[in-house]
Amino acid sequence: MPWTTPSIKISTPSAITQGIRRLSYRQAIYEAQHQLLSTDKRVFLLGEGIDDASGVFGTTLGLTDEFTSQRVVDTPIAENGITGIAMGAAINGMRPILIHMRPDFVIISLDQLLNHAAKWFYMSGGQVSVPLTIRCVIGRGWGSAAQHSQNIQGLLTHLPGLKILMPATAHDAKGLLIAAVRDPNPVVILEHRWLFDKIGHVPEDLYATPIGRANICRYGSDVTIVATSIMVHEAMLAAETLANEDCNVEVIDLRSVKPWDENCVAASVRKTGYLIVADTGHQYGGVAAEITARITELCFSSLRAAPQRITLPEAPVPAASSLEEIYFPGQSDIIKAAKDILSG
């Protein structure tokens, strides 16, 4: 269907894809799940339509046949209840991976996620932890509009108790999923659909990308750009353009938005003196707000200008493609921000 292909072009900057074994982001997720199901009896997958012929954008294809419908479980349409059920299984010996095809459906489950999963270990005085992994496919475009393409990292990061990951590469799509399942806490992974075809180096083994560690994708000394998810790729493209104008950008792929690698970002900002945060989400109290506020606290004397945030406009997602085009920020916004910030 037309809406399964990106409306924007993402080329693959070389720095990210060096390496030998190459898989797509989609295949990387598939492989992580396959390996987890194969090696850990506690792991199971559940979600709405998880076993249908499209296989959650191809990430679960064939897994039901191979591992049975007991371990790859189609569910009723009942996001809050199913989240509670997955959580119940998690506290009683299992390692569920709950899959949502759209971020908006996570909002329906926030009672179980925020009132329960995020607090259970603390309320129990450290006795009962919740090793629950939630995969959520995020995306945009093709008139999906206000209720089918929100960015929810800003909602999920606010209250204590959840870890939130946003892989930008095939490598991390696999590594962070494995890390999430191994983590004894509730972890939400936001996977960007426009990255599913993105190819990158993916080792064959069952490796974990450490949660809370950022990745410097490009070294530079003039300005620091911290980016999440698809914005990492926009930032890399912007960096190439800026390099032609003698501006050396350092691009940091945050990977994990909570906890986040403040040491890595702070060190970079101390070096460059300038910070731009490019997040896929909204501005008010979003990930970009937190990074800006915190880095200002940590690096005030190094900052040579106010940090800049690149986020969504203050409006729900519109449907018309003419509006979508201007709604979502991209490399040109990053280039503009870099020029603005450097020119004071």
């Binding site: 009723p76 349409i77 908006d104 999906s144 409006a315 449907a319």
Partner: protein, 326 residues
Amino acid sequence: MTLPSPDSKTQLALYRQMLLIRHFEQKIVELYPEQEIRTPVHLCVGQEAVAAGVCAHLRDSDTIFTTHRNHGHCLAKGMSLKKMLAEFYGKETGCCRGKGGSMHPCAPEVGILGTSAIVGGGIPIAVGAAWANQMRGIPAVTVTFFGDGATEEGAFHESLNFAALKKIPVIFVCENNLYATASAIGKRQPAAGSIAARAATYGLPGKLINGNDVIEVYLAAGEAVIRAKQGLGPTLIEAETFRWFAHVGPVDDTKTGHRPANELTRWKKKCPIQHLRKALLSKKILTPDDEKIWQKKFDRSFEEALYFAKTSLPSGIEQLTTHVFA
């Protein structure tokens, strides 16, 4: 309370309505590959009888809340074809100024106060809108259409409880098309369960009907409307039906492996339009000429609306951040 069968005129109107919906959907099927309609479409081919049979009882002052699968309901409720198509094409002249797309139609002038594409999300809103009528003494009725999948959401249960408690003039119409996306109902609800039977446990009438028989739908909805207007409270109608196309888009999803082909073949034989057509022709209520005239009319209005939609201006930048707040 049993209503008399609808007279010939009404039967003809019901038939025409179904035909109009089918016509519209077929046009969308043709146009969609152009990729100018850049918003997902959830076709209702095969399910026309529910929209037609229920909405036949409603006036502009009555309200409906529909879902992602809303074309039939909107047309049957009298929404402007121009505004509807313009919205599909992302135009400023669309029913939501291009901001809503295909999943959130809105036409207050004919009682469509907005649409949720969150499964089950529109049900409590409908109950509230109906409650407002009750509080304001307005003798109108509100219908909430939803799928079998929506009955799995907590919102469905909470809505039934409240509507029954307050005897709210709302009609719950579940279009049970046996699937939610590609998941058969048996994978989502226990075989021994029943949606219609649930109504009684809240103390409201629940009826399982053949959703492909527009007369049966019309009669059940008629009773429900009378109950609601008499202050007797809500009714739940479970109309069994089937969609012919994939969950989304003009695709035959039996070919993509999402649903078994023989099931679709079986249901196509139960086409709600053919079903009534045979009866009407044999009773001479309908003539093939009627149909031809209608088809022409449908073609003409569609072409006009399409021209309007295609030539309207795309939604402009000034729309981007306006209407966040009133």
